[in-house]
Amino acid sequence: MARSTKARGQTAAKANQPFLYRHYTPEQLREALRKMYLIRRFEEGAEESYMRGLIHGTMHLSIGQEASAVGICMALTDEDQITSTHRGHGHSIAKGADVKRMFAEFFGKTTGYCRGRGGSMHIADVTKGNLGANGIVGGGIPIAVGAALTAKRLGTGKVAVSFFGDGANNEGAFHEALNMASIWKLPVVFVCENNGYGMSTSVARSTAVPNIADRAAAYSMPGVIIDGNILSKVAEAANEAVERARLGQGPTLIECKTYRYRGHSKSDRNRYRTKEEIEQWMTQHDPISLYEAELREFGVIDEAGIAAIRADVEREIAEGIEYAKASPAPEIADLEQDVYTELA
């Protein structure tokens, strides 16, 4: 959702509020909550459909990480572009995708965003600037830099955002891409969603620095570490970095500290972390609960409002699943379609 200019010239009282509440309208703030719910319920719905055999393959759920996806994308317009990861459902929804077409994709249907060719790991919505999830850890990072090169070269004013995990920061692609973005001062924001683990391997066991953002200095760009479960902090950091990018001042590396509740994928037995650790995050530091509490505190929403949003989201999810179920499967005859662009 685009930055609201309206939201700027507000009453003096607002001046004491956190950035988020000064910068966005109440509608936008409520919409952010709705998106966080939508992501969570979408993933729960997908998980359930998977259990019931309606979805095959595997999937990587971002439940617990919703604030990062939504907070970052709040700073973006529909024209701005993102590259996402194997854990990309949240980014997709935050960037404006329709859950109907996402479910349809997961169900392998022609109405899906990828016409059933991509599935969860390649979910994309190019019309909303989502260039796609990626099955290759780190694969999307240079691609986002390429999008930023296009923006700079053609003067489109667009900003590119690359989401990636803590594990991805040890890939050569991370290093090469951040270096190029910096020397060419490209309008790109690197967002590391540090959920503590790359699959089973903790940051401490895989990464020679305590914080991923500590590596920003190696590329002469700002490195910002934030609590990725607090939407207002994410949105503030995102706005700053996006503005910097849009002004031609170059890239920023934002590290959102967060946590995934579910296993890495559908085949994870969680042997590398404790139940207590998971419980602790779920009960003490859930991004939706935290945001909801804040919204209540600042009087942006009340119980009824929350209930309405929840009901709305439930309906949207149910409709999405129905739509997916009812959609047609691809024709085998079309198997080789879209390998190449058909020439007129």
Partner: protein, 340 residues
Amino acid sequence: MNVAVEVKAETGARELTYAQAIQEAMALAMEADERVVLMGEDIGVYGGAFQVTGNLVERFGPERVIDTPISELGGAGVAVGAAVTGLRPIFEFQFSDFATLAMEQIVNQAAKMRYMLGGAVSVPVVMRFPAGSGTGAAAQHSQSLEAWFGHVPGLKVVQPATPHDAKGLLLAAVQDPDPVMIFEHKLLYKMKGEVPEGFYTVPIGKAAVRREGRDVTIVATSIMVQKALDAAATLAGEGIDAEVIDLRTIRPMDRKTVVESVKKTSRLLCVYEGVKTLGVGAEISAMVAESEAFDYLDAPIVRLGGAETPIPYNPDLERATVPQVENILAAARDLVRGAR
């Protein structure tokens, strides 16, 4: 010690899965030689993405079952450097698709180092690649890229099709002084089969005739071997006697076994999962077409390979992308009955 022949274990064979057979081979190799180490992503406490390393980290410790960061190029390079200097690393790629990140170290370094240095070093590294489609993981997690490696002098490339061979080829690979690439089909990991206890090797470079027959030679690789055997059983009921060869090694290819078979049957069908064009079947076909078996051929050489498309997500599309038993049946019938 370099065992060139297939050693039959004294003890009787048990049923193991393909994954268990590989794990057993790694454990035996590590027990026998402390220079053997395992490297890869999440092969420790997680047990590997496909649970092939399982609980080996408990038995051998994290110093020998080494979880790497997500750094395929660097990790492969470390394995190469370790191999040149005295370790015998077995490096697991989490999916064979990620080899695309490490081709530099595999192809420019591991494969060529001995040659470039005029024989002054050997590079005894083993790399394992879970490969193939059928898991619904789509285009970037389902490729069969063994043909690339088969094109590279300095590498040896094997594709075990049974639990027995998975163990025996891995043990042969660990003993081999040169880099050996092992392509394991993900759908085979749960396949059960007889696996002798103890130490034995399956020679690298030798194909296996899995079924003798007179009417058509079917050369298959990896998961296609079982499909070819299933097809052959059906064909037998129709009066078509198919010989099924499990190629087992892509490089160096067992020219003799294939050529002799075609001289007998006069017909050749190559079945492989990789993309048809420039896939393993292209080499099998070309090898026969330039051999003395050419004069014995009674029909064109037919290849059944993967479709000319990335692997799609939708399961029906995915299935249609690679050869199935019904495709083998149809091709074999056409070949023998002369429809083409």
